[in-house]
C-alpha cells in the first residue's frame, strides 16, 4: 500500500477557502489528502496551530492566504508571513523537515491553482514519508487561553529541542 500522507490545511475564509470552493464548483479533481480548517484570515494562524497539527500526527501542513495586498483584513497575511521565521525555528528544533510545511497565496479565483498546489504538496510530503510522532520529538501544545501560560512557552517546556534538521524516516 502506498503511503497516503495526512495534511492539515489552514485556509483563510476570503481567498484560499473560497478558491478551494471554486475548485469544487468547477469539479477539478485533486488529491484527497488535505483536511481543511477554515479560519477567517491567515493572520489568525498561530505557529502553535502548526506545531499542534504536527504533534497530532499530521504529515504536512498547508497554509493558504490571500495574495499580498489582497487580504480581506488589509494585511493579516503580511503579518503571518513575518511570523513564519519563528515557526521555521520551532520546526527545526523539533527536527521536523521544513518541507512538510507550506505557505501559499491562493486567491478566490484560483481554484485550478489550489488543486495543483494540493497535488504537488501531497507528492512532496509523500516523498518525505510518514511523520514519526515521538521520534521527531513533538508534544502537542494545549490551548492555554484562560491561563497565564503563553502557548509558545508551553510548547518549549514540553519538547526536547533536537539538533537534526531533517526528519528521519
Amino acid at each position: 500500500m502506498t503511503f497516503e500522507p495526512k495534511i492539515v490545511g489552514f485556509l483563510c475564509n476570503w481567498c484560499t477557502y473560497t478558491g478551494a470552493d471554486l475548485a469544487g464548483t468547477a469539479r477539478i479533481k485533486y488529491a484527497p489528502n488535505v483536511r481543511i480548517i477554515r479560519i477567517m484570515c491567515s493572520g489568525r494562524v498561530d505557529p502553535a496551530f502548526i506545531v499542534k497539527a504536527f504533534a497530532e500526527g499530521a504529515d504536512g501542513v498547508l497554509m493558504g492566504g490571500c495574495h499580498p495586498g489582497d487580504c480581506h483584513y488589509i494585511n493579516g497575511n503580511f503579518k503571518t508571513f513575518r511570523r513564519m521565521p519563528l515557526l521555521k525555528r520551532y520546526l527545526q528544533q523539533y527536527g521536523i523537515d521544513e518541507k512538510r510545511f507550506r505557505l501559499e497565496w491562493v486567491s478566490a479565483s484560483e481554484g485550478d491553482r489550489f488543486a495543483a498546489i494540493v497535488n504537488e504538496f501531497t507528492e512532496t510530503v509523500r516523498a518525505l514519508g510518514p511523520m514519526q510522532i515521538g521520534h521527531e520529538g513533538v508534544v502537542a501544545p494545549q490551548a492555554t487561553e484562560g491561563t497565564a501560560k503563553p502557548v509558545q512557552d508551553h510548547v518549549k517546556h514540553h519538547a526536547e529541542p533536537r539538533k537534526s534538521v531533517q526528519a528521519t524516516v
Binding site: 470552493d21 475548485a23 484527497p32 481543511i36 496551530f49 488589509i74 484560483e110 492555554t144
Partner: protein, 657 residues
Amino acid sequence: MSNKIGVYVCHCGTNIAGTVNIPELVEFAKAQGDVVVAREYKFMCSDPGQALIQEDIQKLGLDRVVVSACSPLMHEPTFRGACEKADLNRYLFQMANIREHCSWVHVDKGAATEKAKAQLAGAIGKARYLAPLIPKKVKVNPATLIVGGGIAGIQAAIDIADSGRKVYLVEREATIGGKMAEFDKTFPTLDCAACILTPKMVQVGQHPNIELLTYADVEEGKGFVGNFEVKVRKKTRYIDEEKCTGCGICQEKCPYKTASEFEHGMMKRKAIFMPFPQAVPKVPRIDPNTCVYFKTGKCKACVKVCEPQAIDFERKDEIVDIKVGAIIMATGYKLFDAGKIAPYGYGKYPEVYNSLEFERMVSASGPTGGDIKMKSGEKPKSVAIVHCVGSRDRRHNEHCSRVCCMYALKFAHLIKERCHEATVYNFYIDMRCFGKGYEQFYQRLLDEEVRFVRGRVASVSDFALDESEKGKLVLRVEDTMVGETRRIPVDMVVLANGLEANADAAKVGRLFNISAGKDGFYIEKHPKLAPVSTATEGVYIAGACQSPKDIPDTVAQASAAAAQVLSLMSRGEIEVEAATANIHEELCSGCRVCNTMCPYSAISFDDDKHVSRVNDALCKGCGTCVAACPSSAIFAQHFTDQQIFSEIEGVLHDVRA
C-alpha cells in the same frame, strides 16, 4: 465538557451521496463522543431538512448542531437561521464542507469517505467548544456611493435616488455617460443611443438626491456594511463649478487646440473643453498640458469672456469625505488594445479602425458627421469587419466579450445603410447572437447581403499580389466553410475589439475589499444566486465591471444592485459579526504588541489599568492580534485556540486511533 451534539449529513441529491458513503459517515458520527443523534437526509437545506434539526433541538435538547454538507459560504446562514428559530444560538452551529471540498473534487469513494469523516470529526471537535455569541446591531447610513457613471451607475443612481435616499455618484471622467455616450445606434433595435441616454444623464444631473462628483477618484475606503467612510479626490478643473453656467463661450474663444480624447483623436478640442456637447455636468475643464497660460503665464482668453468669473487657475484638487451605508461598483470596462496584435496593422494602416473609433465615425455628432468615409474623403467600396480581436484568444483574453458579434452586425447594417454599394464582410469564429431579438437581427443582416466568412483573420497588409489588390488592404484568412485560404482585398478594416477589465480594476476593488478574477473582472458572491453581491457585505457590483455585457444586461444588473441596496437601507439597522476579539484583562501584560497589529486600530491602551482593550465596533474578527499576543490574553471569539485545537484533533482523528 459534556455536550449534546446533533449531526446531520446531507446527500445533496447525488452531489455528495454519489461519492461519499453516507451510511458509513452517519455511523462514524454516532460513534463520536458527545454526539447524541446523527441523521442523514437528501437535502438538509430544504424545509423538511431544517425541520429535522429543529425538532431534535427541541425534543432531544441539543446544545450543538453540526451539518455535514456544502460550503459554509453557501448555507451557513441558512442553518444558523434554522437553529435560531429553535432557540439555539446561531454560534452553536458548525458546518463540515464535504461537497466543494470533498465529493466534487475526489473520485475514489473510499478516500472521499475517509476525508469526509475527518472533516466531520473536525467540525464535531470544534463544536464541542463553541460558545453562544450575541450579534450587535448597528444603524445603516441611508446614503449610497456609486463608483462609475456609465449606464450602470446612472441606472442604479436613479433607482436609489427615486426612493428618496441620497446617492453620491463618483465618475472619473469630466462627464457621466460611459461608453454608451460614444455610440450612435444600439443593437439590435437600432435606437439612437443619445436619445435614450441623454435624458437619463440630465435626470442624474438634476436629481435633488444625487450628488455628482465628476472628474473624481476614490482614494480610500474604510468601514463596513452600513457605515463606510470614503475619501474622494475631486481633481481640479480650474473652474468654480458653483459659478459656471455652462454657457460655453470660453470654449469658443480659447485659441488652443489638441486632439479630442472623446473623438479618439479624429477631431480637435480646445484647451478648455467639455468632452461632448451633452456632457453632464455642463462644466468645462482646463487641460493644463494644452493651456498656454500654464506654460507662459499669458493668454487668459477664457477669463476675459467668462461673465460669472468662474475660471480660477489657482484652484487645487479637493478632498471630499463621504459616509455611506452601501457601495455599488459600476466601473465598466476598457477596450482591448488592437495594437497588441501586430499582424492586424492597427496604428500602421490609416484605414484600420478600432470599434470605438468606428462608433464615432458613424455618429451624427462625430468627426465625419456620420458619413462613413476614408481619410481620402471617399466612401469605401468594401469594408471588412474582423471579429474576436483580443477575445477567445489564449494570448490575450480567453473570454468571449459577448457584445462584439452584435455590434459588428450593427456596424455592417450601418455601412450598408450609408454606403449602398459597398461590399461588407464579417470574419467570425462563431456567431453569438443570444439575446432577445439578436438572432432575428442576424437573419436580417443575412438578407441585407452582408458576407459572412467563417475564420479567424491571420493578417491585414497592403502587400498586393496582383492588380486587384493594389492600393487595398488585403486580409488573409482561412475560410473554414470552404476549407481554403483566401486573400480578400478591401478599402477599410474595422476591428471588433474585445472588452477587458479596467487596468486599475483590482486596485480600485481593493479599496472596498472586493476581489477581481484572473481576467480582472470583479467576482460576484455567487455566479447564479448572488450575481450583484460581493464577498464584502454592503458592496455590490453592476455592469461591465463584473464581466463583458450588453446594455440590457447592464441595466438589469444595475437595477438589481439598487434593489439590494434599498433592501439593506429599508432594514434601517443590521447585525454585525459577533465573532470579534476580546481581551482577558487580568492576563494582559500591557506589552501593546496587539495595538500595532490591528489593521483597524480597534485596540486601544488603557493607561490607568495598563491593559489593552478591543473596541468591538471596529474589530472585524481577523484574529491577527490573537496569534500575536505573547500572553494568550486575547481570544478570538468563535475561533478560540481551544476550538481550533479541538478541530485539529478532529481532522486527524484517524492518526491517533
